[in-house]
């Protein structure tokens, strides 16, 4: 019952493009923090293990580095806090670094959710939308690479028995070179078979279609509409109003009018939606399971 990650690939790509696109161009700590919160909860619902803590630590380090580096290089801003080696460190540049860090983390966080949700079959589906051959190429390389790795290990272990590693200095290198050259021959033979298997199953006939296991549901429509609409609204806001903070020479908050307020609400809805649907699905599943 993974509702959100089970959406149609098109819905997912539209949604994630909107979220990541908007986060990238907002310098507004309130919006960034909302995005990070939504993204992290969503990611936690997806992975649910210790690797999640590692990820958060990673974000903290990145954030710290960005926050510290900005005041070192940028000396803009009105309010000088102190001097280091005769160069001023300003309040504005510290806050700017902090906001930039938040923005960066929000983008990274959503990218990591994106790569988790967009499994290979979804990516292949999207590419075959552009060109069917492209999808097939990705699909067959996803099959070929693990097969090649496995073969390399097989050849390597056979050759290792023939070429004694300990006897000569260059043996390890020799072993790798020999195994690799044997692997190349194998790959050529292998692909020759694969291509005749393709043509014997009618590859190259006209009107090839492309099959997938995804279903397009009403909810996918809604998500696409919602994602696209909020992105358009965001562009409108940037063009005619302002949602970003201005930092130099002094910090100016965006005007708190109705347009800004509506945008904040929409943003809150968007970034909390994936986590919300996953949690809802989880609760629903627990309830359903308790009836079994």
């Amino acid at each position: 019952m993974k509702l959100f990650s089970g959406l149609h690939p098109i819905a997912l790509i539209v949604f994630f493009s909107a979220v990541i696109g908007i986060s990238m161009f907002t310098m507004n700590p309130i919006l960034s923090i909302t995005a990070i919160a939504g993204g992290l909860i969503f990611k936690f619902m997806l992975v649910r293990d210790l690797s999640f803590i590692k990820e958060i630590l990673c974000y903290l380090i990145i954030g710290l580095v960005v926050t510290i580096t900005n005041p070192i290089f940028s000396h803009n801003g009105k309010t000088v806090l102190f001097f280091v080696n005769d160069t001023p460190v300003t309040k504005e540049s510290i806050i700017y670094g902090c906001c930039a860090a938040l923005m960066l983390i929000s983008v990274l966080c959503w990218f990591s959710c994106f790569s988790y949700v967009m499994t290979s079959d979804k990516i292949i589906y999207l590419f075959s939308g552009i060109a069917p051959v492209l999808g097939l190429v990705i699909s067959s390389s996803l099959k070929f690479v693990p097969a090649m790795k496995k073969k390399y290990h097989e050849i390597y272990s056979v050759q290792k028995n023939l070429i004694n590693e300990n006897s000569k200095n260059l043996s390890k290198l020799l072993l790798a070179v020999k195994s690799f050259s044997s692997l190349v021959t194998w790959a050529i033979e292998h692909t020759a078979d694969t291509s005749s298997s393709m043509s014997s199953r009618g590859y190259g006939l006209k009107n090839r279609t492309s099959f997938n296991l995804f279903r397009f549901r009403f909810i996918d429509c809604l998500i696409i509409f919602f994602g696209a609409a909020s992105f358009i609204y965001f562009i409108f806001m940037i063009r005619y109003e302002n949602i970003n903070f201005i930092f130099y020479p002094e910090i100016i908050y965006p005007k708190k009018n109705i347009g800004y307020l509506i945008f904040c609400i929409i943003w809150l809805l968007i970034v909390s939606m994936p986590a919300f649907t996953e949690i809802k699905g989880e609760i629903k599943w627990k309830l359903l399971r308790s009836k079994i």
Binding site: K150, E154, N164, S197, S200, L205, T209, F211
Partner: protein, 547 residues
């Protein structure tokens, strides 16, 4: 009604003088289960490839192949792709995509079917083949048997009228092979699909084939029902080896009754025609006295991962110098793992390995013949490869040993070939020569009978015997009970992570009731310890029978 008619077909490969196929004539009826039989390199594959337009090899062709009255070369691509399916030998290389469902859908996509149709058809096919539980799996994670079943399913999804199979089970273990063959039998019996299958080992298909066409060096030497083939082929000692044991027996003794098609009929034939006054073989030469233990494993425990299951646990084993030791066991019982532990590629977490009574960290006197012998070679030709390796070992090019090896193993003719162009048996022989170059004391063989024909198997047994006589110790891991019974001095059964029983080969197989050889099953309750065809013949003679 004939679905395929082949008339006067001859074929010569591009740039070769000698024809691979000579005046081939045979017909296949609709719904027939036709088996093409012959040793490797006899032209079976070429013939099959000529029937499938997309797979046609380059070369000069004369005569005609008609599919439903139309010449294959004039068949349009769509008909050829959708009505004739082709399954190749290697389970891995035919798979195109990364997901099982996508693989099944591939042919349907090519033919331009719409989404709903493909959805329904893939569901249908998966249910028929029992693929449901791995429908969404990655193809590279499947076992060999599953892969081959997937290849068949992917071909069947297009719903062809004829399926052509080129030695489809030669790379599978016996259990997976039986599953695969019974699936083909179902397709043939339940759906009326015409099946053309090439095989070099008839054991699996002897009782289900409608017709048998035997090809030897490019010529059809027999075509008809399997029942009569034993008699017709009795003069051809090379071809007869690939028939099941009971058919070979029948062809040797020439009883005035039809050839048995399965063990039950064979058992009846033996009871009717044989006497069992003397019902056991007295073994003199099999009780060789081996004194020196060359390799000893004590309480070996091994697992691949820290939290994984134990693959070997408390395993004890000892092999004597100069003997042939066979390790048999079912699928996934850890046979190959055991070999890797002996070679030192994997280190057990507990237990001792003693070589010549001493604990040695690494022992270079062990050579391994891998399951895929082609992985032994890295050069462009066999000769080049040998030369390089001789150089590496600091051997003289004109060293007598290399020459002797080439002569002993009869490799002169294939020295200039590319390793991938060799047949299974030839490649194996060459690989054996290469691993012998470093003059090992112990030779390990991993599934040596996989993918080789009966004739090469016979030769392999001879080679191994000679090596053992020359003082080498040989350890064989195999699924093939027949082969173990004919080759090994002692056999052991690996089961539940340890060696369960270990005995002289004859005692081992004659005391087993289920996990044993065909000859033993045929003579169960009649002879006490006949485990090979030779034993049955010997007992027949001892009881006064004449050949």
């Amino acid at each position: 009604m004939e679905i395929i008619k082949i008339k006067n077909l001859s074929f010569t490969f591009e740039g070769r003088e000698k024809a691979v196929l000579n005046n081939i004539d045979f017909n296949i009826k609709k719904g027939e289960f036709a088996v093409l039989y012959g040793s490797s390199g006899c032209g079976k594959t070429t013939l099959l490839r000529l029937i499938k337009k997309e797979m046609n090899p380059e070369g000069k062709i004369s005569g005609s192949i008609l599919y439903k009255g139309i010449n294959i070369s004039k068949l349009d691509r769509k008909t050829s792709a959708s009505e004739i399916g082709y399954v190749m030998q290697n389970p891995d290389s035919q798979i195109i995509t990364d997901k099982v469902w996508h693989e099944i859908a591939f042919g349907l996509e090519s033919l331009g079917h719409n989404r709903d149709f493909i959805r329904r058809r893939t569901a249908e096919i998966s249910s028929f083949f029992g693929i449901n539980s791995w429908y969404r799996k990655e193809t590279y994670k499947l076992s060999g048997g599953q892969k081959q079943l997937l290849n068949l399913a992917a071909v069947m999804a297009i719903s062809p009228e004829v399926i052509i199979l080129d030695e489809p089970v030669s790379q599978l273990d016996p259990f997976a092979a039986r599953t695969f063959i019974s699936m083909i039998e179902r397709l043939n019996r339940e759906l009326g699909i015409t099946v053309i299958m090439a095989e070099h080992n008839l054991e699996n298909v002897f009782s289900i084939a409608d017709s048998l066409t035997v090809i030897d060096s490019g010529k059809v030497i027999y075509s008809g029902a399997p029942v009569n083939c034993a008699e017709a082929l009795s003069c051809n000692s090379k071809i007869i080896k690939g028939l099941p044991v009971y058919a070979q027996l029948h062809s040797m003794l020439k009883f005035n009754e039809p050839c048995p098609l399965n063990i039950r009929e064979a058992s009846n034939m033996i009871r009717k025609n044989f006497s069992n006054k003397i019902d056991a073989i007295e073994d003199k030469n099999n009780k060789k006295n081996f004194e020196n233990k060359i390799i000893e494993l004590k309480n070996i425990c091994f697992r691949y991962e820290k939290n994984g299951p134990d693959i070997l646990y408390g395993l004890n084993m000892s092999v004597n110098k100069g003997e042939i030791y066979g390790i048999v066991g079912g699928n996934g019982s850890g046979k190959s793992t055991l070999l890797s532990v002996i070679t030192g590629q994997n280190t057990p977490y507990s237990g001792k390995i003693l070589i010549n009574g001493k604990k040695i960290k690494s022992f270079s006197g062990i050579a391994v013949l891998p399951q895929n012998p082609v992985t032994v070679f890295t050069g462009e030709t066999i000769e080049e490869d040998f030369q390089w390796y001789a150089n590496y070992l600091r051997m003289d090019k004109s060293d007598k040993r290399i020459k002797n090896l080439i002569n002993d193993l009869d490799l002169t003719e294939i020295l200039n070939s590319h390793p991938y162009d060799l047949s299974g048996g030839e490649c194996q022989k060459a690989a054996i020569a290469k691993i012998l170059m470093k003059d090992p004391d112990i030779i390990l063989l991993d599934e040596p009978t996989k993918g080789i024909d009966a004739w090469s198997k016979e030769k392999l047994i001879q080679i191994l015997r000679n090596l053992a006589e020359g003082g080498k110790t040989i350890i064989i891991v195999t699924h093939d009970n027949e082969f173990a019974a004919e080759t090994a001095d002692r056999c052991a059964l690996l089961f539940d992570r340890e060696i369960i029983s270990q005995d002289n080969t004859r005692e081992f197989f004659s005391s087993n009731e289920f996990y044993t050889t065909c000859a033993k099953s045929m003579t169960r309750g009649f002879y006490k310890n006949a485990v090979t065809l030779k034993d049955i013949i010997d007992l027949y003679k001892a009881n006064g029978g004449t050949l």
